[in-house]
């Protein structure tokens, strides 16, 4: 009973703020004394899907950037996390601390320097530059998540698989990845959401040429069209929620967790 009450409470706290957004997105003006708007419209949602508003363009670019960032940080985070989780080497503690610096140090402090370097390299305002700066916070998250997963991973599984005739690539695809899948899902979720919601780094590095969804939203917030802003805000929440649902589905699968022992 208490448990159910708590769940309802959590849902209310999390989703109640979204309710006014939903109302706004379908209203033609919603002014103070009114409890609900007097006039309803689909106009904002039509606008969201029209090319003129550039919302869909931003959505596609955001998706492309977030997915690329996630895949790249996985490619770096997997071997790095494996090394930190499974092996002992001098300077390991220092390296782990060093990995946290992009999370600890405010991006504001490093933005100037980064932009300077990117301009020098002729990369400023490119999609690649945006992905590059997004990797700064995502790689540490990914690496640390995977390091803690690998710390509980028994390397005996890999030895066993190889002695049974699996090549190193087969060991990775048939044994290691399936066994650490929950960690990969959690790391990917972090990376995707960080990249998806990133505004400040994108804003500075894009030079107005790369237009992600948070930037569309920011522009709209300044414009004062509450209905459209609300519709875009809801749009920007959807992919993250979908990813989260998929991830929690994968995490609830007991067999994927079995390989992790007592994580």
């Amino acid at each position: 009973m208490l448990r159910n009450t708590l769940i309802v409470l959590v849902i209310v706290v999390l989703f109640l703020p979204l309710l006014p957004l939903l109302v706004w997105s379908f209203s033609q003006g919603w002014f103070f004394p009114q409890f609900i708007p007097e006039q309803w419209t689909f106009q904002h949602w039509i606008q969201v899907f029209s090319p003129a508003s550039r919302v869909m363009e931003g959505l596609v670019q955001s998706l492309a950037i977030a997915l690329t960032t996630t895949i790249l940080s996985l490619l770096v985070g997997l071997p790095a996390g494996r090394a930190i989780g499974l092996m002992e080497f001098p300077g390991k503690a220092a390296l782990k601390l060093f990995l946290l610096t992009p999370i600890i140090v405010s991006p504001l402090a490093t933005l100037m320097g980064m932009q300077f370097v990117l301009i020098r390299l002729g990369l400023n305002g490119t999609l690649f530059a945006v992905v590059l700066v997004h990797l700064m916070p995502t790689i540490p998250y990914m690496t640390l998540v995977l390091a803690s997963v690998f710390a509980n991973f028994d390397m005996g599984y890999e030895i066993q698989a190889r002695s049974l005739g699996a090549s190193p690539l087969q060991v990775l695809s048939q044994v290691t990845l399936p066994l650490i899948a929950p960690g990969v899902v959690v790391g990917a979720l972090f990376a995707f959401l960080i990249s998806w919601n990133e505004f400040l780094l994108t804003f500075f590095v894009s030079a107005g040429r790369v237009f992600t969804l948070p930037m569309v939203l920011f522009t709209l917030l300044q414009g004062g069209n509450n209905g459209l802003t609300a519709a875009v805000a809801i749009t920007s929440v959807v992919p993250g929620l979908l990813f989260l649902l998929l991830a929690s589905n994968a995490l609830q699968n007991e067999t994927t967790l079995a390989g992790l022992g007592n994580v």
């Binding site: 005996g156 066993q160 002695s163 005739g165 699996a166 044994v175 079995a258 390989g259």
Partner: protein, 356 residues
């Protein structure tokens, strides 16, 4: 059936010697136990044979083919580790078929062979279960099946039974021996348990501190250990200084024993505690010496007596539990001449036998 030859095998870890100049041959179809205390380097040897560790020096050859540069998956050597390590994301059947899948064998044939292999380890109908639903003994049987289904040239078992309880262990020992007979696979077992090595193997290679000390049949390593540490490891408890004049061996208290072995000068002698016979009456016979019972422990299968021979000389005699004794009782211990064994050199303890 395949013959394994290790030559001059050496491995160091951070300056410490794990394995030093090891020469060992395992004959085709043979069961050899690599026996030694924890940390003596036996698992390191196994990992080098399996190919997951590279030796610093020396060669590993299977059927005359040099393996040093062959990756583990191409060696046809299957490894069963202590923890079993069934892949938790696969069913029992998929686990058994894993090696076949890696070899590109089609699903129908894989399943057929996996089912047949599960039958051989008496786990019919377990194919669809998850490893988490198995007991320790069942998991270890699946691990065996998974390794044998690929028909390896050599099967390596690393302490495969040490996580199981005593009853289950005996059952598994029988199963392993039966499977070995059926398949004829060359079998190398690593264990720290001398009883297990004796029961399971045709030959025992005993090692301390990364070096082989004796390679012999279980009988010989039991009766004729090469030195005192080997004898101690094999459960030897009776050691005494002897002045030998041919077959006349003089104990420190002046009593003379007769042995089958001839030697001159100072030696260390030993006799297995279960080979000493204890009489309650004096017998006029060689090697019967008076003693006093100073401890009497009943173990179920044996009665373990500690006998005082002289002030500084005690013997352990393990006799049948039906014979009853009491502490303080005067008895006569018979040390059969054929069971007296000796070490010509005074051997140091294993720790002291470091490489110069």
């Amino acid at each position: 059936m395949s013959q394994l030859v290790l030559q001059n095998l050496t491995k160091h870890f951070l300056g410490a010697t794990a394995v030093q100049d090891l020469w060992l041959e395992v004959q085709a179809g043979e069961i050899l136990a690599l026996l030694g205390p924890s940390g003596c380097g036996k698992s390191t040897i196994l990992q080098m044979i399996a190919g997951v560790l590279q030796p610093d020096r020396g060669t590993i050859a299977l059927d005359g083919k040099l393996l040093n540069r062959v990756p583990p998956e191409k060696r046809d050597i299957a490894l069963v580790l202590q923890r079993g390590l069934l892949f938790p994301h696969l069913t029992v059947g998929e686990n058994v078929a894993f090696g076949l899948k890696m070899r590109g064998i089609n699903r129908a044939e894989r399943e057929e062979k996996a089912i047949a292999m599960l039958h051989q380890v008496q786990l019919d109908g377990f194919g669809d279960r998850k490893p988490s639903a198995l007991s320790g003994g069942q998991a270890q049987r699946v691990a065996l099946a998974r390794s044998l289904v690929i028909r390896p040239k050599l099967l390596l078992l690393d302490e495969p039974l040490s996580a199981l309880d005593a009853n289950l262990r005996a059952e598994m020992q029988d199963l392993i021996l039966r499977l070995q007979t059926q398949t004829g696979v060359t079998l190398l077992i690593v264990t720290h348990d001398q009883a297990e090595a004796v029961v399971m193997s045709q030959r025992i290679a005993l090692m301390f501190n990364g070096r082989l000390r004796q390679v012999d049949s279980p009988e010989r390593i039991y009766q004729q250990p090469s030195d005192e540490p080997v004898a101690q490891f094999m459960g030897g408890v009776n050691f005494f200084a002897i002045q030998a004049q041919g077959q006349q061996w003089k104990l420190p208290n002046g009593l003379v024993l007769v042995s089958q072995h001839r030697h001159q000068g100072a030696i260390r002698a030993t006799i297995r505690p279960e080979q000493i016979q204890v009489f309650t009456e004096m017998r006029s016979q060689n090697n019967v010496i008076p003693a006093t019972v100073i401890a009497n422990r009943f173990t179920g299968t044996q009665r373990r007596l500690t006998l005082a021979i002289a002030a500084n000389l005690t013997l352990q005699a393990w006799v049948t539990p039906t014979q009853d004794f009491h502490v303080g009782q005067a008895v006569w211990a018979y040390l059969p001449p054929e069971n007296l064994w000796y070490f010509s050199q005074t051997s140091a303890l294993p720790q002291a036998v470091e490489v110069p």
